[in-house]
Symmetry: C2
Subunit: 90 residues, 2 copies
DNA sequence: TCCGTATTTCGAATAGTATCTAAATATTAC
DNA sequence: GTAATATTTAGATACTATTCGAAATACGGA
């Protein structure tokens, strides 16, 4: 199990998520957007998958990756908790 | 320059931030909360400082760390952008 | 069944991170 | 100036992450 935080800690992976925000993409389409080898992008996708930040579906011979925002809600609440100004203090 | 994402990617550092959310702490007080050496905690504090997630003030011979939420706002907007459902689609 | 396309997995190089102990620095008190 | 206290820096080691090219796998079509 990879934490969402680890998934988000790499800039390439954050770019992939931004890309997937628009619409689902195949692994090949994603790899084409970066000057990295397909193997490297595949590795990043497996990290994102392990962190449940993306969903994968197979259609014919291609794998289609899409954004999974469920885990982002948890990240969001941690950040919100940290930024929340404390009311009712003392 | 360390990115806020890198700063947030380690569980110990996130715990430190939670601790600082309550009130500022000295380096020693923070170190006491963890079963890690003071040197290790100091390292984590320097990462948080590099990511501008904490502020440091010196009072007498102690260094006082406090939470800096400014950078968290940027993290927050990235997460919000990813989770925002797309309106006006098509 | 063999081929082509899409993608992942493997093995290895390199770089970055977390952790420790010990030594160094900074501040204050005497 | 010396000592005491608080904290960081230095050096070492182990672990984890990023990246690549090459080989392996999976699926669908001829």
């Amino acid at each position: 199990m990879i934490s969402a935080w680890k998934g988000l800690s790499d800039p390439t992976r954050r770019e992939i998520l931004q890309l997937l925000k628009g619409r689902p993409h195949t692994a090949g389409e994603i790899a084409d957007q970066f000057s990295l080898s397909a193997a490297t992008v595949s590795h990043h996708l497996s990290v994102l998958k392990g962190a449940k930040l993306v969903n994968v579906d197979r259609r014919r011979q291609t794998l289609i990756y899409s954004l999974n925002t469920a885990v982002l809600q948890d990240v969001l609440s941690v950040i919100l908790a940290l930024t929340a100004s404390e009311r009712r203090k003392k």
